[in-house]
């Protein structure tokens, strides 16, 4: 089948600074794509453009053959693209359940302002969906904990869970393991990836840790200086000399990107 996501000649400049240029990628459904590159290589910019947080200066983005270039993020979300964040974006004052439940309710509300005023937030199916997702991400034991007291790993899972609860078809994970200790990283990714597989979600994930990329990605995009310098299977990409030379240095300091704002 045709690509679920297609990106052509994408470019983003801030004044004189070129954050991303000449990015052309197309992703078939249910593929898991790892995105690597040093800080400032344009990974997050790339994600932000797809999710509508940034408006591209040039080029176009197509999702399921529909152009979404420069649409506001909330519309793009409604179309079925969802994302998680480098720094987990959750609602600290709510419990884990309420976090997910709100997300579920929003995804399920019948359209428009009137819809969101008339549909209760704890509708049976929203609640059910929330419970299911919490199970799926194995954070059931934190169900009623206020989010502001959660350990880092759980925050990450919750963040992704909130992105997944709306049954997106494309999910972008911005450094899902940033700020997570090396020991936990693999368990976390195992949980996440198996969850996404069961929901048949196409995934783009930004990652600094090459082992994780090698382990979980079907395909790897290597960013350097705002554009894609290598694109292929993990092995091909990671072993390509340019990548070795320009990027894999990152491997030596895996947590470099943690918390930092690419």
């Amino acid at each position: 089948m045709s690509a679920i996501l297609a990106v052509r000649d994408l470019e983003k400049t801030f004044g004189s600074l070129v954050a991303a240029h000449d990015i052309t990628v197309s992703v078939p459904a249910e593929q898991t794509v790892g995105v690597i590159g040093a800080n400032g290589a344009g990974k997050t910019t790339f994600i932000n453009m797809i999710t509508g947080h940034l408006r591209p200066t040039k080029g176009g983005i197509w999702f399921e053959d529909q152009e979404i270039t420069g649409k506001p993020s909330r519309e793009i979300t409604r179309l079925g693209i969802s994302r998680s964040f480098q720094v987990a974006q959750i609602f600290p004052s709510l419990t884990v359940f309420d976090n997910v439940c709100v997300a579920a309710a929003i995804a399920r509300r019948s359209g428009g302002m009137w819809g969101s005023i008339t549909t209760p937030v704890r509708s049976p199916d929203a609640t059910a969906e929330a419970e299911a997702t919490i199970e799926l991400f194995q954070i059931g034991r934190y169900r009623d904990t206020p989010a502001n007291t959660l350990p880092q790993g759980v925050r990450k899972l919750l963040d992704i869970g909130m992105a997944v609860v709306g049954w997106p078809r494309l999910l972008l994970l911005d450094e899902p393991t940033s700020g997570i200790s090396i020991e936990e990283k693999f368990d976390l990714m195992n949980v996440v990836m198996s969850a996404l597989k069961t929901r048949k979600i196409t995934v783009l994930f930004v990652e600094h840790d090459m082992e994780i990329v090698a382990r979980f990605a079907d395909r790897v995009l290597a960013f350097y200086d705002g554009t894609v310098i290598a694109d292929g299977t993990p092995t091909d990409t990671l072993d390509s000399p340019r990548v070795q030379e320009l990027i894999s240095g990152v491997r030596l300091k895996p947590a470099a990107g943690s918390g930092g704002h690419a």
Binding site: T77, Q89, S93, L94, V102, A107, I117, P120, V121
Partner: protein
Amino acid sequence: MFLFAAAAAPLLPEWIVSLTTIAFANALVVLGLVVLWRVGLVSFGQALYYCIGAYVVALLARWTGLTDAFALIVIGGVAAGLVAVLIGFLLARYREIFFAMLSLALSMILYGVLVKTESLGSSDGFSVTTPTFLGYAPHREALGLSLYWLTLGVDAIAAVLVGAYFRSVAGALAAPIRDNEIRVEFLGVSVNSIIHAKVVIAGILGGLGGALAAMAIGHVDPNMAYWTTSGSFVFVTILAGAGSVAAAFVGSLVFEAVRSFAVDVMPGLWQMTLGSVLLLTILFLPDGLGSLVSRLKRRGEVQRP
């Protein structure tokens, strides 16, 4: 609560009935502020809608001779609501203190306009024709009670609807928006339109409150739009807390009672009394009287087998 209060009315002395009527009319404005406060917004200009509601009632009675309380209230609420819709387009983009300041400026402009309008009695305002109730034209006690019951009725409806709203998606988004607007946007919701809706709801409630107050007081004047009026509404909101719908009504009643008590017992020093009450509330009851409500709730649940 409303049934209870309604039943109690005939037993109470008239002056308490009228005091309570005004308190419960103002409670609607407070309820609107509670809706806003849940998203962390405070309007120092809510008196704008209060005043619009009041003047609409007074002017309709004066110009068209329409005196039916039910019609007047509805129109008052709608009028304020429409203004809120317009202002909302502007206001919804603002947050924090800037939201407060802009709403304050708008209400002060209305104040200026009214003071300038000599045909409407300028700062003296003018009196409101005694309302009728579907043709029934009561006087004295009867009138007081009718207004009181009408107010309670409107309050009850408002309380139920707002309660339902709080449980709806748009209502429940208040805390999330306060916490993290970006996340909300990425979940597929326009934060501004949610806030716009809240501004409108608050506006309608303000208008209803003003309409009822106008009839209960029997007089309208530009001070209804002055910033100190808004100030006292915010005051009650803090006193009540955003915890529960009921708190708005209790808070408003307690406020009126305390003020009247202070004026009665220490005529020269009632501002000091009010100030101290507010201060103590903030310091020792950070979530307002509402937090007492929820505490009672919790205790109630514990006691239940």
